[in-house]
Protein backbone atom coordinates (compact mmCIF):
# COMPACT_ATOMS: atom_id res chain seq x y z
CA UNK A 1 0.00 0.00 0.00
CA UNK A 2 1.31 3.46 -0.88
CA UNK A 3 0.70 6.59 1.15
CA UNK A 4 -2.20 7.80 -1.03
CA UNK A 5 -3.99 4.49 -0.53
CA UNK A 6 -3.34 4.66 3.19
CA UNK A 7 -4.78 8.19 3.39
CA UNK A 8 -7.93 7.03 1.60
CA UNK A 9 -8.30 4.06 3.98
CA UNK A 10 -7.70 6.28 6.98
CA UNK A 11 -10.33 8.80 5.86
CA UNK A 12 -12.85 5.98 5.37
CA UNK A 13 -12.22 4.84 8.94
CA UNK A 14 -12.63 8.33 10.29
CA UNK A 15 -15.75 9.00 8.21
CA UNK A 16 -17.37 5.60 8.76
CA UNK A 17 -17.03 5.76 12.56
CA UNK A 18 -18.93 9.03 12.55
CA UNK A 19 -21.49 8.10 9.91
CA UNK A 20 -22.47 4.84 11.59
CA UNK A 21 -22.56 6.25 15.12
CA UNK A 22 -24.50 9.27 13.86
CA UNK A 23 -27.00 6.99 12.18
CA UNK A 24 -27.35 4.87 15.32
CA UNK A 25 -27.96 7.97 17.46
CA UNK A 26 -30.53 9.26 14.99
CA UNK A 27 -32.66 6.23 15.88
CA UNK A 28 -33.33 8.01 19.19
CA UNK A 29 -34.97 10.95 17.43
CA UNK A 30 -38.54 11.05 18.70
CA UNK A 31 -37.82 8.37 21.33
CA UNK A 32 -35.65 10.24 23.86
CA UNK A 33 -36.38 9.82 27.58
CA UNK A 34 -37.07 13.55 27.92
CA UNK A 35 -37.55 16.19 25.24
CA UNK A 36 -34.25 17.96 25.91
CA UNK A 37 -32.36 14.71 25.63
CA UNK A 38 -34.17 13.80 22.45
CA UNK A 39 -32.96 17.10 20.98
CA UNK A 40 -29.46 16.59 22.36
CA UNK A 41 -29.00 13.14 20.82
CA UNK A 42 -30.35 14.37 17.48
CA UNK A 43 -27.92 17.30 17.63
CA UNK A 44 -24.95 15.03 18.33
CA UNK A 45 -26.08 12.74 15.51
CA UNK A 46 -26.24 15.74 13.18
CA UNK A 47 -22.72 16.83 14.13
CA UNK A 48 -21.36 13.32 13.55
CA UNK A 49 -23.08 12.90 10.20
CA UNK A 50 -21.84 16.36 9.21
CA UNK A 51 -18.29 15.42 10.17
CA UNK A 52 -18.65 12.20 8.17
CA UNK A 53 -19.85 14.18 5.15
CA UNK A 54 -16.76 16.38 5.12
CA UNK A 55 -14.35 13.50 5.73
CA UNK A 56 -15.92 11.19 3.13
CA UNK A 57 -15.98 14.00 0.55
CA UNK A 58 -12.25 14.40 1.11
CA UNK A 59 -11.82 10.60 0.89
CA UNK A 60 -13.51 10.62 -2.51
CA UNK A 61 -11.21 13.41 -3.72
CA UNK A 62 -8.13 11.56 -2.48
CA UNK A 63 -9.27 8.35 -4.17
CA UNK A 64 -9.83 10.19 -7.46
CA UNK A 65 -12.34 7.69 -8.87
CA UNK A 66 -15.21 10.16 -8.99
CA UNK A 67 -16.97 8.94 -5.85
CA UNK A 68 -18.49 11.66 -3.69
CA UNK A 69 -19.60 11.39 -0.06
CA UNK A 70 -23.02 10.04 -1.04
CA UNK A 71 -21.54 7.33 -3.26
CA UNK A 72 -19.29 6.25 -0.40
CA UNK A 73 -22.09 6.32 2.18
CA UNK A 74 -24.84 4.63 0.18
CA UNK A 75 -23.13 2.35 -2.29
CA UNK A 76 -20.68 0.38 -0.20
CA UNK A 77 -21.57 -2.90 1.47
CA UNK A 78 -20.80 -3.84 5.06
CA UNK A 79 -17.54 -5.56 4.11
CA UNK A 80 -16.28 -2.26 2.66
CA UNK A 81 -17.13 -0.26 5.77
CA UNK A 82 -14.15 0.58 7.97
CA UNK A 83 -15.77 1.65 11.25
CA UNK A 84 -14.95 0.07 14.59
CA UNK A 85 -17.50 -2.45 15.82
CA UNK A 86 -18.36 -0.36 18.90
CA UNK A 87 -20.31 2.22 16.89
CA UNK A 88 -22.50 -0.25 14.99
CA UNK A 89 -23.85 -2.06 18.08
CA UNK A 90 -27.56 -1.60 18.75
CA UNK A 91 -28.46 1.29 21.06
CA UNK A 92 -29.98 -0.77 23.85
CA UNK A 93 -31.43 1.40 26.62
CA UNK A 94 -30.55 5.05 27.15
CA UNK A 95 -27.79 4.17 29.62
CA UNK A 96 -26.11 1.86 27.18
CA UNK A 97 -26.31 4.45 24.40
CA UNK A 98 -24.70 7.00 26.71
CA UNK A 99 -21.91 4.68 27.86
CA UNK A 100 -21.04 3.83 24.22
CA UNK A 101 -21.14 7.52 23.37
CA UNK A 102 -18.85 8.45 26.24
CA UNK A 103 -16.28 5.75 25.42
CA UNK A 104 -16.27 7.04 21.83
CA UNK A 105 -16.37 10.78 22.62
CA UNK A 106 -13.48 10.61 25.09
CA UNK A 107 -11.38 8.96 22.37
CA UNK A 108 -12.66 11.10 19.50
CA UNK A 109 -11.83 14.38 21.21
CA UNK A 110 -8.22 13.25 21.70
CA UNK A 111 -7.91 11.90 18.16
CA UNK A 112 -9.32 15.08 16.59
CA UNK A 113 -7.00 17.19 18.71
CA UNK A 114 -4.08 15.25 17.25
CA UNK A 115 -5.44 15.48 13.71
CA UNK A 116 -5.99 19.23 13.85
CA UNK A 117 -2.26 19.66 14.42
CA UNK A 118 -1.20 17.12 11.81
CA UNK A 119 0.33 17.72 8.40
CA UNK A 120 -2.68 17.17 6.14
CA UNK A 121 -4.03 20.72 5.71
CA UNK A 122 -7.58 19.87 4.66
CA UNK A 123 -8.04 17.08 7.17
CA UNK A 124 -6.57 19.30 9.90
CA UNK A 125 -9.17 21.98 9.06
CA UNK A 126 -12.06 19.50 9.22
CA UNK A 127 -10.66 18.06 12.46
CA UNK A 128 -10.32 21.51 14.04
CA UNK A 129 -14.03 22.12 13.50
CA UNK A 130 -15.01 18.63 14.62
CA UNK A 131 -12.82 18.96 17.72
CA UNK A 132 -14.89 21.91 18.97
CA UNK A 133 -17.98 19.72 18.63
CA UNK A 134 -16.37 16.69 20.27
CA UNK A 135 -15.57 18.91 23.29
CA UNK A 136 -19.23 19.44 24.08
CA UNK A 137 -20.15 15.87 23.06
CA UNK A 138 -17.86 14.39 25.70
CA UNK A 139 -19.08 16.90 28.27
CA UNK A 140 -22.65 15.79 27.55
CA UNK A 141 -22.07 12.03 27.57
CA UNK A 142 -19.65 12.24 30.53
CA UNK A 143 -22.15 14.20 32.63
CA UNK A 144 -24.79 11.59 31.89
CA UNK A 145 -22.53 8.68 32.84
CA UNK A 146 -21.92 10.38 36.20
CA UNK A 147 -25.60 11.15 36.71
CA UNK A 148 -26.74 7.62 35.87
CA UNK A 149 -23.90 5.82 37.64
CA UNK A 150 -24.32 7.92 40.77
CA UNK A 151 -28.11 7.85 40.40
CA UNK A 152 -30.54 5.15 41.48
CA UNK A 153 -29.77 1.51 42.06
CA UNK A 154 -31.49 0.73 38.78
CA UNK A 155 -29.60 3.32 36.71
CA UNK A 156 -26.31 2.31 38.33
CA UNK A 157 -26.90 -1.34 37.52
CA UNK A 158 -27.78 -0.59 33.93
CA UNK A 159 -24.76 1.60 33.13
CA UNK A 160 -22.37 -0.77 34.92
CA UNK A 161 -23.73 -3.64 32.81
CA UNK A 162 -23.34 -1.54 29.68
CA UNK A 163 -19.78 -0.59 30.61
CA UNK A 164 -18.89 -4.25 31.23
CA UNK A 165 -20.42 -5.39 27.95
CA UNK A 166 -19.01 -2.58 25.80
CA UNK A 167 -15.49 -2.65 27.26
CA UNK A 168 -14.31 -5.52 25.02
CA UNK A 169 -15.07 -3.26 22.03
CA UNK A 170 -12.64 -0.54 23.12
CA UNK A 171 -9.51 -2.42 22.06
CA UNK A 172 -10.16 -1.34 18.47
CA UNK A 173 -9.72 2.31 19.42
CA UNK A 174 -6.00 1.82 19.91
CA UNK A 175 -5.13 -1.05 17.57
CA UNK A 176 -2.75 -0.21 14.73
CA UNK A 177 -2.17 -1.84 11.36
CA UNK A 178 -0.24 -1.03 8.19
CA UNK A 179 -2.39 2.04 7.45
CA UNK A 180 -1.67 3.56 10.85
CA UNK A 181 2.01 2.76 10.60
CA UNK A 182 2.27 4.48 7.21
CA UNK A 183 0.63 7.65 8.51
CA UNK A 184 1.74 7.75 12.14
CA UNK A 185 3.51 10.91 13.12
CA UNK A 186 2.78 12.80 9.90
CA UNK A 187 -0.94 12.77 9.15
CA UNK A 188 -2.40 10.88 12.07
CA UNK A 189 -1.49 10.35 15.70
CA UNK A 190 -0.30 6.87 16.58
CA UNK A 191 -3.42 5.04 17.92
CA UNK A 192 -1.71 3.60 21.01
CA UNK A 193 -0.38 7.04 21.96
CA UNK A 194 -3.95 8.16 22.73
CA UNK A 195 -4.60 5.34 25.20
CA UNK A 196 -3.11 6.83 28.41
CA UNK A 197 -5.05 10.12 28.13
CA UNK A 198 -8.24 8.24 27.21
CA UNK A 199 -7.85 5.93 30.18
CA UNK A 200 -7.35 8.90 32.46
CA UNK A 201 -10.56 10.63 31.31
CA UNK A 202 -12.59 7.42 31.41
CA UNK A 203 -11.25 6.40 34.84
CA UNK A 204 -12.01 9.83 36.27
CA UNK A 205 -15.62 9.79 35.07
CA UNK A 206 -16.11 6.14 36.08
CA UNK A 207 -14.87 6.97 39.58
CA UNK A 208 -17.12 10.01 39.90
CA UNK A 209 -20.01 7.87 38.67
CA UNK A 210 -19.29 5.31 41.44
CA UNK A 211 -18.86 2.68 38.73
CA UNK A 212 -16.16 0.03 38.45
CA UNK A 213 -13.70 0.08 35.58
CA UNK A 214 -13.81 -3.35 33.87
CA UNK A 215 -10.63 -5.41 33.63
CA UNK A 216 -9.02 -5.66 30.21
CA UNK A 217 -9.65 -9.08 28.73
CA UNK A 218 -10.58 -10.36 25.28
CA UNK A 219 -10.94 -7.49 22.82
CA UNK A 220 -13.01 -7.65 19.63
CA UNK A 221 -11.30 -6.59 16.41
CA UNK A 222 -11.75 -6.53 12.66
CA UNK A 223 -13.91 -3.49 11.94
CA UNK A 224 -11.06 -1.61 10.27
CA UNK A 225 -10.63 -4.54 7.89
CA UNK A 226 -14.34 -4.88 7.14
CA UNK A 227 -15.14 -7.69 9.59
CA UNK A 228 -18.27 -6.50 11.31
CA UNK A 229 -20.98 -7.74 13.63
CA UNK A 230 -24.27 -8.85 12.09
CA UNK A 231 -25.76 -5.53 13.18
CA UNK A 232 -24.03 -3.38 10.56
CA UNK A 233 -25.78 -5.06 7.63
CA UNK A 234 -29.19 -4.36 9.14
CA UNK A 235 -28.25 -0.76 9.83
CA UNK A 236 -27.00 -0.26 6.26
CA UNK A 237 -30.13 -1.86 4.79
CA UNK A 238 -32.21 0.83 6.42
CA UNK A 239 -29.76 3.66 5.75
CA UNK A 240 -29.14 2.79 2.11
CA UNK A 241 -32.48 1.56 0.80
CA UNK A 242 -33.75 4.87 -0.53
CA UNK A 243 -30.55 5.80 -2.35
CA UNK A 244 -30.26 2.30 -3.81
CA UNK A 245 -33.91 2.07 -4.87
CA UNK A 246 -33.75 5.41 -6.65
CA UNK A 247 -30.09 5.90 -7.59
CA UNK A 248 -29.32 9.45 -8.69
CA UNK A 249 -32.82 10.65 -7.77
CA UNK A 250 -33.25 14.41 -7.48
CA UNK A 251 -36.05 16.28 -5.78
Amino acid sequence: MNEGGAVFEYLLRLGDDRLILGHRLSEWCGHGPVLEEDIALANVALDLIGQATHVLRLAGQVEGEGRDEDALAYFRDAIDYRNINLVELPNGDFGRTIVRQFLFDAWSVLLLDGLQRAAHTELAGIAAKAHKEARYHVRHSGEWVIRLGDGTEESHRRVQTALDELWPYTGELFAADEVDRLLAGSIAPEPAALAPAWREVVSDVVRRATLTLPADGYMHSGGRQGRHTEHLGHLLAEMQILARSHPGAKW
Binding site: V44, D47, T53, H54, T121, G125, I126, K132, Y136, G142
Partner: protein
Amino acid sequence: MSRAGAEAEALFEVLRGIPDPEVPALDIVELGIVRRVELRPDGAVAVEVTPTYSGCPAMRMIEQEIVAALRANGYDRVELRTVYSPAWTTDWLSDSAKAKLKAYGIAPPDPAVVEQALVPLMSSMRRAACPYCGSSNTERKSEFGSTACKAIHYCHHCHQPFEEFKAI
Protein backbone atom coordinates in the same frame (compact mmCIF):
# COMPACT_ATOMS: atom_id res chain seq x y z
CA MET B 1 -9.77 52.13 -1.69
CA SER B 2 -8.31 50.21 -4.63
CA ARG B 3 -10.57 49.19 -7.46
CA ALA B 4 -10.38 45.53 -6.44
CA GLY B 5 -11.17 46.54 -2.87
CA ALA B 6 -14.18 48.53 -3.97
CA GLU B 7 -15.42 45.62 -6.07
CA ALA B 8 -15.06 43.17 -3.17
CA GLU B 9 -16.89 45.62 -0.90
CA ALA B 10 -19.76 45.85 -3.40
CA LEU B 11 -19.95 42.04 -3.51
CA PHE B 12 -19.92 41.84 0.29
CA GLU B 13 -22.75 44.37 0.32
CA VAL B 14 -24.85 42.04 -1.86
CA LEU B 15 -24.13 39.12 0.48
CA ARG B 16 -25.01 41.20 3.55
CA GLY B 17 -28.54 41.12 2.22
CA ILE B 18 -28.78 37.39 2.97
CA PRO B 19 -30.04 36.60 6.48
CA ASP B 20 -28.94 33.38 8.15
CA PRO B 21 -31.88 30.95 7.68
CA GLU B 22 -31.75 29.79 11.31
CA VAL B 23 -30.83 33.05 13.02
CA PRO B 24 -32.37 35.67 10.72
CA ALA B 25 -31.32 38.47 13.08
CA LEU B 26 -27.84 38.13 11.56
CA ASP B 27 -26.67 38.13 7.96
CA ILE B 28 -24.24 35.56 6.65
CA VAL B 29 -21.36 38.05 6.43
CA GLU B 30 -21.51 39.25 10.04
CA LEU B 31 -21.95 35.64 11.14
CA GLY B 32 -18.56 34.93 9.58
CA ILE B 33 -19.76 32.31 7.09
CA VAL B 34 -18.45 34.27 4.08
CA ARG B 35 -14.67 34.29 4.33
CA ARG B 36 -13.58 35.81 1.03
CA VAL B 37 -15.13 37.28 -2.10
CA GLU B 38 -13.27 38.15 -5.24
CA LEU B 39 -14.20 39.31 -8.73
CA ARG B 40 -11.95 37.44 -11.12
CA PRO B 41 -10.56 39.07 -14.28
CA ASP B 42 -12.73 36.68 -16.33
CA GLY B 43 -15.86 38.04 -14.63
CA ALA B 44 -16.53 35.07 -12.35
CA VAL B 45 -17.11 35.71 -8.68
CA ALA B 46 -15.19 33.42 -6.32
CA VAL B 47 -16.76 33.03 -2.89
CA GLU B 48 -15.25 31.14 0.03
CA VAL B 49 -17.59 29.97 2.76
CA THR B 50 -16.98 28.09 5.98
CA PRO B 51 -19.58 26.05 7.88
CA THR B 52 -20.46 27.10 11.42
CA TYR B 53 -21.05 23.51 12.56
CA SER B 54 -20.07 20.37 10.65
CA GLY B 55 -23.68 19.30 10.30
CA CYS B 56 -25.29 22.69 9.78
CA PRO B 57 -28.34 21.81 7.66
CA ALA B 58 -28.64 25.41 6.44
CA MET B 59 -25.33 25.39 4.60
CA ARG B 60 -26.67 24.18 1.27
CA MET B 61 -29.51 26.69 1.38
CA ILE B 62 -27.04 29.47 2.15
CA GLU B 63 -24.94 28.47 -0.86
CA GLN B 64 -27.99 28.56 -3.11
CA GLU B 65 -28.92 31.98 -1.79
CA ILE B 66 -25.42 33.31 -2.40
CA VAL B 67 -25.59 32.20 -6.02
CA ALA B 68 -29.11 33.61 -6.43
CA ALA B 69 -28.25 36.97 -4.83
CA LEU B 70 -25.16 37.45 -6.98
CA ARG B 71 -27.07 36.47 -10.13
CA ALA B 72 -29.77 38.98 -9.30
CA ASN B 73 -27.03 41.62 -9.24
CA GLY B 74 -25.64 40.66 -12.62
CA TYR B 75 -22.94 38.21 -11.61
CA ASP B 76 -23.84 35.11 -13.58
CA ARG B 77 -20.84 32.97 -12.84
CA VAL B 78 -20.24 32.13 -9.20
CA GLU B 79 -17.64 29.68 -7.95
CA LEU B 80 -18.28 28.52 -4.40
CA ARG B 81 -15.59 26.90 -2.33
CA THR B 82 -15.86 25.51 1.20
CA VAL B 83 -12.87 26.24 3.41
CA TYR B 84 -12.31 24.69 6.84
CA SER B 85 -9.31 26.55 8.13
CA PRO B 86 -9.37 28.58 10.30
CA ALA B 87 -12.34 26.87 11.96
CA TRP B 88 -15.37 29.09 12.51
CA THR B 89 -15.60 30.63 15.95
CA THR B 90 -18.18 32.80 17.67
CA ASP B 91 -15.29 35.14 18.49
CA TRP B 92 -15.72 36.48 14.94
CA LEU B 93 -19.07 38.02 15.88
CA SER B 94 -18.76 41.78 16.23
CA ASP B 95 -20.22 43.70 19.16
CA SER B 96 -23.02 44.94 16.91
CA ALA B 97 -23.84 41.35 15.87
CA LYS B 98 -23.95 40.35 19.53
CA ALA B 99 -26.26 43.27 20.30
CA LYS B 100 -28.58 42.14 17.49
CA LEU B 101 -28.71 38.63 18.95
CA LYS B 102 -29.59 39.98 22.38
CA ALA B 103 -32.32 42.20 20.95
CA TYR B 104 -33.65 39.12 19.15
CA GLY B 105 -33.91 37.28 22.51
CA ILE B 106 -30.80 35.12 22.21
CA ALA B 107 -28.04 35.49 24.79
CA PRO B 108 -24.87 36.36 22.83
CA PRO B 109 -21.79 34.14 23.16
CA ASP B 110 -19.01 34.87 25.65
CA PRO B 111 -15.44 34.67 24.37
CA ALA B 112 -14.68 31.08 23.41
CA VAL B 113 -12.38 29.52 25.97
CA VAL B 114 -11.11 25.97 25.95
CA GLU B 115 -11.59 24.48 29.39
CA GLN B 116 -8.92 22.18 30.71
CA ALA B 117 -11.14 19.38 31.98
CA LEU B 118 -12.97 17.34 29.34
CA VAL B 119 -15.81 16.59 31.76
CA PRO B 120 -15.78 19.51 34.22
CA LEU B 121 -17.92 19.70 37.34
CA MET B 122 -21.38 20.87 36.33
CA SER B 123 -21.40 23.40 39.17
CA SER B 124 -18.34 25.04 37.61
CA MET B 125 -20.18 25.80 34.37
CA ARG B 126 -20.56 29.49 33.63
CA ARG B 127 -24.04 31.00 33.91
CA ALA B 128 -25.39 32.85 30.89
CA ALA B 129 -26.94 36.29 31.41
CA CYS B 130 -30.66 36.37 30.64
CA PRO B 131 -31.24 38.39 27.44
CA TYR B 132 -34.60 39.62 28.80
CA CYS B 133 -33.81 40.85 32.31
CA GLY B 134 -30.00 40.66 32.47
CA SER B 135 -29.98 38.45 35.56
CA SER B 136 -27.26 35.86 35.90
CA ASN B 137 -29.43 33.78 38.22
CA THR B 138 -29.91 31.34 35.38
CA GLU B 139 -29.54 27.64 34.86
CA ARG B 140 -28.32 25.76 31.83
CA LYS B 141 -30.98 23.21 30.90
CA SER B 142 -29.24 21.68 27.91
CA GLU B 143 -26.22 22.39 25.75
CA PHE B 144 -28.40 21.47 22.79
CA GLY B 145 -31.21 23.64 21.51
CA SER B 146 -33.40 24.25 18.51
CA THR B 147 -30.34 24.54 16.26
CA ALA B 148 -26.75 23.30 16.54
CA CYS B 149 -25.53 26.76 17.55
CA LYS B 150 -27.82 27.27 20.54
CA ALA B 151 -28.11 26.06 24.14
CA ILE B 152 -31.22 26.19 26.36
CA HIS B 153 -31.24 28.07 29.68
CA TYR B 154 -33.82 29.09 32.23
CA CYS B 155 -33.89 32.41 34.07
CA HIS B 156 -34.88 32.06 37.75
CA HIS B 157 -35.31 35.81 38.04
CA CYS B 158 -37.86 36.54 35.32
CA HIS B 159 -38.91 32.88 34.92
CA GLN B 160 -38.27 32.78 31.21
CA PRO B 161 -36.62 30.01 29.26
CA PHE B 162 -34.14 31.46 26.79
CA GLU B 163 -31.59 30.40 24.21
CA GLU B 164 -27.89 31.19 24.17
CA PHE B 165 -25.63 31.35 21.13
CA LYS B 166 -22.99 28.87 22.29
CA ALA B 167 -19.42 30.09 22.52
CA ILE B 168 -17.36 27.82 20.33
